[in-house]
């Protein structure tokens, strides 16, 4: 182990102050990405700012036509939340399929979304529902938030505080898991509601993206058949030992179709 400072602030303001003062400091919530990175020396922050003592980052509540989930909400909390299950059951189901029991009891919504791993589940829901990311200083629309592989619109020192999910009329999620790691090989989150019709694809490319052709087809005809014959181009998609870009492109269509079926 190498040395680093450890801070445990009790407010967002204090956390932001610590993170702003030291560009090499990193916030830590569930630690599912950061701790392995530390162990492998892929990250060597000067300080860890432990967010677990900040009450304002917690909580899941329904506010009118949206569900607001604090950044520190664990996957298991989202999966089991009556508010989420009642308003956006697809989001609860998605949370319930992340990793395994241990992961779901430790990993957090904010950590997953801020990390923007191409094979993570939550970015598909955030983009696929047209959610709003609330930080310590501003509100960012999902369409502007995910900027590339492992990168987001968050600025250095900016802290993700909560995510506001508009309640859709219909929403569904389907994914194929990587047979080794169980991360997402390719997934699709679809919804119809206040943000229009949305189809967000995760796992397939370097960053979650919207499939506009499918959105248009579903806007005209909300049914699995509407997307069944829309082919995703493999250009720019991920290719690895588990599946080629062509295979992933094929999965985009299948997962979108199944996500629509899941939405009902």
């Amino acid at each position: 182990m190498y040395e680093f400072a450890y801070h445990k602030p009790s407010s967002v303001a204090d956390a932001v102050k610590l993170l702003s003062a030291d560009p090499e400091a990193r916030p830590i919530a569930g630690g599912h990405t950061l701790l392995p990175a530390l162990k492998h020396r892929l990250a060597r922050p000067t300080a860890l700012v432990d967010l677990s003592g900040i009450a304002e980052l917690r909580g899941i509540r329904r506010e009118g036509d949206k569900v607001v989930i604090g950044a520190l909400a664990r996957h298991a909390e989202v999966a089991n939340s009556d508010a989420v299950k009642g308003a956006i059951p697809a989001l609860a189901r998605l949370a319930g399929t992340i990793g395994d029991v241990q992961v779901r009891n430790r990993g957090t919504l904010g950590g997953s979304v801020a990390n923007n791993d191409p094979a993570a589940d939550y970015p598909a829901a955030v983009l696929g529902l047209g959610a709003t990311v609330v930080t310590d200083r501003r509100r960012i629309a999902a369409d502007d938030f995910f900027t590339g592989m492992f990168s987001t619109a968050l600025e250095p020192g900016e802290l993700l505080v909560a995510i506001e999910f508009p309640i859709p009329e219909k929403a569904g999620y389907a994914k194929m898991k990587n047979p080794a790691s169980r991360y997402v090989m390719t997934g699709a989150f679809v919804s119809r509601g206040p943000q229009g019709v949305r189809v967000a694809i995760n796992g397939a490319g370097p960053c979650v993206f919207r499939q506009r052709e499918m959105e248009a087809a579903l806007a005209a005809n909300w049914s699995p058949d509407a997307v069944a014959n829309i082919r995703q181009s493999p250009d720019g998609l991920n290719s690895d030992i588990h599946g080629s870009a062509e295979y992933r492109a094929h999965l985009v269509t299948v997962m979108a179709k199944r996500a629509v079926a899941d939405a009902g």
Partner: protein
């Protein structure tokens, strides 16, 4: 033995290692520590094939905290021209596997090792070692390695008079195959390929070694044989066996992969040089890059049958990947492939092919799944061509008592046909299939093994029993031995403690492998207990003043054999133990034997799969394994072995494989990329234990641990065919591959 009268044999008694394992108290090799202990690390080759011109360790030795550095110079060299066999291994290859000598032969091959006061310093010192490599052309796959222009790994290997990567050939012949095929009405010939798969034991290799100033060496390590560890370490370090004490730690899985050593001789030399105890623990990545796995294979099998279903000839050719040094399990592939069947004309050939990847290690029924995969898939096609039920075809040709097998033996009473009959009669075989589901069957054989075992059975002063044997327990041997001892002595099994001795506390015992342990150790334990019972009768006779022959042992106590012997109240084990000193001293006995008569194991499996044609995912939805266990001493463990073998077979068939990159390196050396099935990928695997007692064993035991991995590859392949109408001739049947085949069919 009358089954009905058994009180403990056949009972699902509580396993003696269970509580320790679930509470985390079990002591594995990586848990061992000693005062003054330092850490060893291995420097591994960054090239798949390179001549080592020189190694400069001076900078590493100068690093503060470094206590010793070793290279191949510190390991005993066995010249390549003289075989040095040890069991199924050859020390010529082992000395080059633990430390590269003339050449680095695979990416990850050890080239040097360091011991330092911390793991970090040891790792840093490894980086300071300068190796001058002459990088050589390399070859990974079998088909490339046997090409005439392939890079040659070993100049000393000759095949048919020419330098070659074919290191050996094994051939079994029975009858006249050409004449046999001439008699056949239907002949099917197909070629198959399988990928290398790792044993996947959850515990990486680990050891702690202490070489004392007087040369006395103690090794705590994770292995499938403390005596194997002692013998190999002795040969590779030059330390006499009498100066080495090898202590087996609790083992976190082996599946054959821990029947050889990697770290122990290196740690011994580091400890000898540094004068400090040295601990070495592999990372998962090291395990995946440089240990195990089992062979990839390329095979061709041809089987001919008459119209009535009688198989008249069979021919098989099996190329198996050995890795960097000779020694792939061609015997298992070529020998087991046709062993379940009574075939008059057989020709089976195995070729051992070296290439620039880690040397293979034994993996559960080594080679046998590869042979059975090809044969059992061809039989499926044969049954279809003949219009026969695939199980009926197998039953018609099943080997029985008196069948002469191509690999040598004439079978005694075996229970193979019984496994097929049980499968035919089982509700699973007739259960309706759902949409996109298919059913397949396959059978399998494994040699099983006997060999050397030792046991010591001691009665404690308080009248309980301690049994010590010499085999690491990887499949329930302790629980099973407790059942047998309790049965024979007529006492509760909880009064029997079964321990695993080290090389100083129990006689030589061959390693845990070949499904031999319960067969062999039950034999020596039984004979030891019989001796103890004789002693107990003698002690009772002495107390009563009658002839020992007039005393019988029943239900845990000595009794007069009949009214003529005299009328005495029974003497229990506790009472006799309490009087042991005054009746002649401690009560106990040991037996050491080279056991024979293990006899083969047979299995028949039924598998249902469901295919998702949009994704190419094959999911096993129902699985029933039928196996002749001879006698299930502890049925829970027998079932566990059957389920475990099937689970590993499912991984081999559907998802697992080593993937190499363009630089000749393993590209998926972690569980995040190596596709091993987990519980959620598997159905409940149902088991049906058939008991046709082995006539050559006191309890009727046959080995059970390995044969369950033999049928699954073909059972699953045949089920996929039944579901899709498309046959696959290579594994794994991974989703992209299945999808591509389906799309090819549609196009």
């Amino acid at each position: 033995m009358n089954v009905v009268s058994n009180k403990w044999i056949g009972q699902r008694t509580i396993r003696p290692d269970g509580a320790d394992k679930v509470t985390g108290r079990a002591a594995y090799a990586a848990d061992a520590t000693m005062p003054g202990m330092i850490w060893g690390k291995i420097l591994r080759s960054p090239h798949p094939h390179a001549r080592i011109r020189s190694i400069d360790t001076s900078k590493a030795e100068a690093l503060p905290g470094v206590k010793a550095v070793v290279t191949a110079k510190d390991i005993v060299d066995f010249p390549v021209d003289t075989p040095v066999p040890l069991g199924i291994q050859d020390m010529r290859w082992m000395c080059r596997n633990v430390m590269a000598r003339e050449k680095a032969l695979f990416h990850g091959h050890p080239v040097a090792a360091v011991a330092a006061t911390t793991e970090e310093i040891a790792a840093e010192a490894c980086r300071l070692i300068e190796v001058d490599y002459e990088v050589l052309p390399w070859v990974i796959e079998i088909e490339d390695a046997i090409r005439p222009d392939a890079p040659i790994l070993h100049d000393f290997l000759r095949f048919e008079g020419r330098p070659s990567n074919i290191a050996g050939k094994l051939e079994h012949r029975l009858g006249d195959v050409e004449a046999g095929f001439a008699e056949a009405d239907v002949v099917i010939e197909r070629s198959f390929a399988t990928r290398p798969v790792h044993q996947g034991y959850i515990e990486p290799h680990a050891c702690l070694v202490s070489v004392a100033p007087d040369g006395k060496t103690t090794i705590w390590s994770s292995s499938q044989g403390q005596f194997m560890v002692r013998a190999m370490t002795s040969l590779l370090t030059g330390i006499p066996q009498s100066d080495i004490r090898a202590i087996p730690a609790e083992i976190g899985g082996g599946f054959g992969g821990k029947t050889i050593i990697y770290l122990e001789p290196v740690a011994v030399m580091l400890s000898k040089k540094s004068g400090r105890p040295v601990k070495m623990v592999m990372t998962r990545e090291e395990v995946m890059r440089a240990t195990g796995p089992t062979s990839a294979s390329r095979s061709t099998v041809k089987i001919g049958a008459r119209r009535d279903g009688r198989i008249v000839a069979a021919q098989g050719t099996f190329y198996l990947q050995a890795g960097a040094l000779p020694g792939s399990p061609i015997r298992g592939a070529a020998g087991c492939a046709f062993a379940p069947y009574d075939i008059p004309n057989v020709h089976s050939v195995g070729y051992d092919v070296v290439s620039n990847r880690s040397k293979v290690a034994a993996y559960r029924a080594p080679g046998a799944p590869i042979g059975a995969y090809a044969v059992e898939c061809v039989l499926d096609e044969l049954a279809e061509a003949l219009g026969m039920d695939p199980l009926e075809l197998r039953l018609k040709n099943a080997a029985r008592q008196g069948t002469k097998a191509a690999h040598g033996p004439v079978y005694p009473r075996i229970g193979f046909a019984e496994t097929i009959e049980a499968a035919l009669a089982h509700p699973h075989y007739k259960a309706p299939l759902g949409k996109r589901q298919g059913r397949g069957v396959a059978c399998g054989f494994w040699f099983n093994a006997g060999g050397e075992s030792s046991a010591q059975v001691n009665v404690t002063e308080d009248g309980n029993v301690v049994v010590t044997t010499g085999h690491p327990d990887i499949g329930g041997s302790r629980a099973s031995i407790a059942n047998i001892t309790a049965e024979l002595l007529g006492i509760d099994y909880r009064r029997v403690s079964v321990l695993i001795g080290d090389t100083a506390t129990i006689g030589y015992s061959n390693l845990t492998g070949g499904s031999r342990v319960l067969f062999a150790s039950a034999t020596v334990v039984t004979q030891s207990v019989e001796k103890v019972i004789t002693q107990l009768r003698e002690r009772a006779a002495k107390i009563w003043g009658i002839d020992p022959d007039a005393v019988k042992w029943e239900d845990g106590q000595a009794l007069p054999a009949g009214d003529n012997a005299g009328r005495f109240p029974p003497l229990t084990l506790k009472q006799l133990a309490a009087k042991a000193s005054e009746t002649g001293g401690p009560i106990g006995a040991g037996v050491q034997l080279n056991t024979t008569g293990a006899e083969g194991g047979f299995a028949t499996h039924i598998c249902d799969v469901e295919v998702d044609p949009e994704l190419g995912i094959v999911r096993v939805v129902r699985y029933t394994a039928f196996q002749d266990a001879g006698r299930a001493i502890h049925p829970g463990y027998v079932e566990g072995q059957m389920q475990g073998g099937v689970a590993q077979g499912i991984g081999w068939a559907l998802s697992e494989e080593y993937v190499y990159d363009r630089q000749g390196r393993v590209d998926n050396a972690s569980f995040l990329d190596y596709r091993m099935p987990v519980c959620s990928d598997l159905p409940m695997i149902d088991t049906v234990i058939i008991e046709v007692p082995n006539p050559k064993h006191p309890q009727g035991v046959r080995g059970v641990g390995e044969v369950p991995i033999v049928p699954p590859l073909a059972a699953i392949s045949n089920a996929v065919y039944n579901a899709l109408g498309r046959r696959f001739y290579s594994l794994p049947m991974s989703p992209p591959k299945v999808l591509a085949t389906l799309e090819g069919a549609a196009a």
